[in-house]
């Protein structure tokens, strides 16, 4: 059973969680590409407003996201094979990665650097609010999940799985 096999591992050193973060970032980037570029066509392949910096940032992010998505799955497979996989930690990482990327996109790319906006030709404020609120919700859920797992691990102590009170 690949659930919380490593009770004593601090969450920040749990590879399951980092695999989740990598996949979360990659999945959110793919959602952005598929939903907002392809399906809704709100985003553009190239945005004049972003200029050269926006262009470079797009290309670099694209490469990093693709790599993180694939490498994340291999890292997860690696923890499964080692028997150190933790479904909870991976799920927490997934939400942290997805929310973190969404918030980075919403605050840094859209607002601070102003590479591109969520939609054009409309009042963008409600879109920004929904976008960033969704990002915060994902991030918060991931953080709560991570907190619960970290607490449970601390309580259970060094690998004494039998002593775990719940579950």
């Amino acid at each position: 059973m690949p659930t919380d096999a490593k009770e004593d591992l601090p969450l920040r050193r749990d590879r399951s969680m980092w695999a989740g973060v990598m996949i979360g970032v990659g999945v959110m980037a793919a959602v952005d590409e598929i939903v907002f570029h392809q399906l809704l066509a709100w985003h553009h392949f190239y945005d004049r407003a972003g200029g050269t910096v926006g262009l470079v940032s797009d290309g670099v992010l694209h490469a990093v996201e693709l790599f993180l998505l694939i490498a994340g799955f291999f890292l997860l497979a690696s923890t499964l094979r080692r028997g150190t996989a933790s479904a909870g930690a991976a799920l927490a990482g997934l939400f942290l990665g997805a929310g973190g990327f969404q918030l980075f996109d919403g605050l840094i790319n859209h607002k601070v650097l102003r590479f591109h906006q969520i939609r054009y030709g409309v009042d963008v404020v409600p879109y920004d609010l929904v976008w960033n609120a969704a990002a915060l919700a994902l991030l918060l859920f991931g953080a709560v999940l991570a907190g619960v797992i970290a607490r449970r691990r601390r309580r259970t102590g060094s690998g004494t799985r039998a002593a775990r009170p719940d579950a």
Binding site: Y46, L55, D58, G59, L66, A71
Partner: protein, 292 residues
């Protein structure tokens, strides 16, 4: 179309010759090695054949020719010749096959040629990546684009991208013996830089079409380069990660259950990740040993 030199059926036949030769040589070597009692994996022959076909399609596509070509067709050729074909050809381990098929003297000459200083420099990930992605940038953002206007120039550019693509792919995910393989972090960095360079160039071509290319064609070509490129890049990243995964688990790092494959020892751990166990167990010929 036939009035253009370099696109007629006669040219196509002549142009197909090097590809047919590459195919015949590989398959003959594989058959020879097999007859000598050392099975050569069939999937490698399949990879080589697919790679040769991809390269030939890219090279010989008349729609991408120097005088008849549209920009999207040209970009399709670039994806085939510079990215898809190298990925397939490199995974077919042609050098390993050659070393096994050749007589000892010739194999020794081949291996010392491969270890010569110029080739060692070129096969390092950084120069290989620069030749590959840097060459692409030079072609599309400088007057070098004029090369594409003539038949010979176009063929030279295609050949450059096939060779540079093979060098780069081999530096990142090569399965042939490589005594100086760069470490995982450097290969990751170069891979990411090359992917980013490719994506940025695609967007750049969308924003600033090369001289003489109509906006619509530049945009279609840029889409193809970006999304078509991403598909091949995804395959490249998957192989890259799979190799590292296999390597990590063959080493049997502390903490995890000891892998059964660890018994192969250090020599086995250094063997190409994709090599099937049957080859790893087999007695290695001296020509393989010289690389280690």
């Amino acid at each position: 179309m036939h009035e253009h030199p370099g696109t007629g059926p006669g040219f196509l036949l002549l142009g197909a010759l090097p590809f047919l030769a590459a195919l015949a040589l590989y398959l003959a070597a594989a058959a020879g090695v097999w007859r000598a009692g050392r099975p050569w994996p069939v999937y490698r022959s399949v990879l080589w054949s697919a790679g040769v076909v991809a390269a030939a399609l890219g090279f010989l596509n008349p729609a991408a020719g120097p005088t008849t070509g549209s920009f999207p067709a040209h970009m399709g050729s670039h994806l085939l010749v510079g990215m898809a074909a190298p990925l397939l050809l490199v995974l077919a381990a042609p050098v390993t096959l050659a070393l096994r098929a050749l007589a000892v003297g010739r194999a020794r000459r081949l291996s010392s040629f491969l270890r010569s200083p110029p080739l060692r420099v070129l096969s390092h990930p950084v120069p290989a990546g620069l030749l590959n992605t840097g060459g692409l940038w030079l072609l599309y953002t400088t007057p070098a684009a004029a090369l594409l206007g003539s038949g010979a120039g176009h063929a030279a550019v295609q050949l450059h991208f096939l060779l540079a693509g093979c060098l780069f792919t081999n530096a990142v995910i090569g399965v042939d013996p490589n005594p100086h393989r760069a470490g995982f972090p450097l290969r990751t960095a170069v891979l990411l830089a090359a992917l980013a360079g490719h994506g940025v160039l695609a967007k750049y071509l969308f924003a600033y079409p090369p001289p003489g290319v109509p906006t619509g064609q530049a945009e279609t070509g840029a889409y193809l380069m970006y999304y078509g490129g991403a598909l091949i890049e995804a395959a490249l990243i998957t192989v890259f990660c799979a190799q590292e995964y296999a390597r990590a688990h063959r080493r049997g790092t502390a903490g995890g259950p000891v892998s059964s494959r660890v018994s192969g020892g250090a020599a086995a751990a250094r063997r190409p990740a994709a090599d099937p166990p049957v080859l790893r167990r087999s007695r290695r010929a001296p020509e393989d040993q010289r690389f280690r």
